[in-house]
């Protein structure tokens, strides 16, 4: 069964139509990349999947493991295993990483009927996952994303992904703002988290990332629609020719 099935999804914000009929199916264990020009609606799609209330879905539907995803509250989606790595992670001054992660993790465990982790086990887990994306353990005693560098914020997203073990992870431009080494580390982290019951939707502008995280499919979003899908070689074509040839072809069709 597909883990994610998006049918004819339309969404708008403030009277402005952004998504204009998105169709996308992701099977369990697959990695799908979404590319596309600025403003085409990639982050909007990610936000709608994660449950941002500012966006109004005007048509279409989304099935997550066969359930109606759009009916669920954002926290319910998270507990059901949907994870969004934000393009712009939010700073939460005064909310310690430690407390934030403990609460998030224990919510998940409670939902699954498991006991909360002991302080020791939690700490161990946190250390392991931080090491996994080479995140400075010092950051754990700081407030969430507060004063983190751009790269640290991105790593922090993947770190949380590792902690929370979702079944569908949506990565919104996690690669932008990372230096070459960090990109490598983050990509290695994602690869190590790949499993046959965990799927990824990776939004990116750069083919480079897809050299490391080899996708099963690449989709191109233009003006609120997926206008072309293909294998990993599509990303290479885009890198070479830009988006214009797709736009032209789409119009021609």
């Amino acid at each position: 069964m597909a883990i994610l099935q998006i049918n004819n999804l339309h969404a708008r914000i403030e009277e402005q139509n952004i998504l204009k009929g998105v169709d996308l199916t992701v099977a369990a264990g697959e990695v799908h990349a979404i590319m596309g020009p600025n403003g085409s609606g990639k982050s909007t799609l990610a936000s709608v999947l994660a449950g941002r209330e500012e966006f109004e879905v005007t048509d279409g539907n989304v099935l997550y493991e066969g359930q109606d995803l759009l009916e669920m509250e954002p926290d319910e989606r998270a507990l059901e295993g949907v994870f969004l790595a934000f393009q712009y992670p939010v700073e939460l001054p005064g909310v310690s990483m430690n407390n934030f992660l403990r609460q998030a993790l224990n919510q998940q465990r409670e939902y699954r009927g498991e006991e909360p982790l002991s302080a020791g086990a939690f700490l161990k887990r946190m250390k392991q996952c931080a090491a996994f994306v080479d995140l400075d353990p010092q950051l754990m005693s700081r407030a969430v994303n507060d004063g983190f560098s751009g790269g640290e914020k991105k790593r922090n997203e993947i770190f949380q992904l590792a902690m929370l073990e979702p079944r569908l992870a949506i990565l919104d431009e996690t690669d932008s703002g990372l230096d070459i080494d960090a990109l490598r580390t983050v990509a290695d982290g994602v690869n190590a988290l790949r499993r046959n019951d965990r799927s990824f939707v990776v939004i990116t502008h750069y083919q480079r990332l897809l050299d490391y995280i080899i996708p099963d499919a690449v989709h191109v979003m233009v003006d609120g629609r997926i206008v072309r899908s293909g294998g990993k070689e599509l990303a290479l074509d885009l890198e070479e020719k830009g988006y214009d040839w797709i736009r032209e072809e789409t119009v021609a069709v």
């Binding site: 994660a50 449950g51 954002p74 998270a78 934000f86 939010v90 001054p93 005064g94 919510q107």
Partner: protein, 452 residues
Amino acid sequence: MSNSDKTTSLEASFVDAFEAYAGKPPPANAPMPVNGLAPLNAMQGFRRQAMERFRELGIPSRKNEAWKYTHIPEALARGFAVFTGGSIPDPGAAETAQCALAGLDAHIVVLVNGRFASEHSLIGNLPEGVAIGGLGTAASTHPDILRNHFGRYASWEEESFTALNTAFASDGLFVYVPKGKVIEKPIHVINLQKTNERLFLQPRHLLVFEGNTQAKIIDTSCALTGDATFTNAVTETFVGERAMVEMYLVQDPGNDHAVVSTTHVYQDAASTFTAATVTFTGAVVRNNLNVLPNAPHCETHLYGLFLPSGATQVDNRTLVDHAQPDCVSNELYKGVLNDRASGVFNGKVFVRQDAQRINAFQENKTIVLTNEATMNAKPELEIYADDVKCSHGATTGQLDPEALFYLRSRGMTKQQAQGMLLHAFAGDILNRISIEPLRRMLDERVTRLFGE
């Protein structure tokens, strides 16, 4: 009945009470050392003048700009008997004990209805010359201190509630720390309210910290009463040269109790004064905090946290009057308003003409959780000197939806996410509280309040 008629009758009831009080000595059978009028000779001279002044100034109504958002006549309309001593129900040791702070080793001063209750207080050992106790007793044990400080800082000529308090003043907290003494443990003042009728209470506190002294004061309220009270408290604080004083006021008496708390602080050269006022409940809570750094190189830190719900009104007014150069003042008040609660922050900072090289910062941030809650913020800076660094700002808004969504996307419920963000918001003030058992108690109270 028109509003002004009502006000007049309210004032008349205080005048009547004053005549009855001033005309007679304290009851002989009073269980507490009431020390009515006689021992307070230092102030006897202006008791009647103060009452006269109160009669002229009147109970401030909403027409008075400074009291526009604090509905005093409405709060008083319930009818309160002015407490002038008489018999006080004994709160009992067990009841009193629950008002202490867990894990706090302190000099404990218990005031019952504003009167010093020696049998419930646990003052303990004090450095030589230091006095902690009741103001009534101090009138006879420390007449010089009263003569030099009582009525010097709180202006009964200008403030109606101070005039009223001064007219009736007879007891409250008295702290005297002579030159060079350091009080290691905090002084914890527990204000117990215990009554079977609606009482108007008027504690009067005098705190004198001479040069090179150090002390920390915690003032908490603890309502054991079944009936409502209205407290009109006045505190005068003298902070001597290079003295370092911290004052924490925790207001959580329950929503049946109204409070007007007026504090005047006089700072001498190079002294440091820090105050934090934390308000949870109260029918109406009005805090007037006035600081006069009247010599160079003073430092003043004023913090506030107000978290009212229900229909509680919290009105915080501060005044820092920089009359002298080379001082620093720093003020941060934060609020979270729930339900129909209302908040006011009015912070005045004056920098007088010769007060050069002043650094004065003031900030107020409020989060409004409902459409019915209202906030009025008015930071005021008046600068007459030219070489100063001053800033002020006030923001009122909702919780950041981006932050809420971020937390919810990690599995936190709306309630949890909100609680976490509010707790972080309040933490900014709580983390400045240097007495750990107090900080912990407040932190737990905040956690319970926001249901994290």
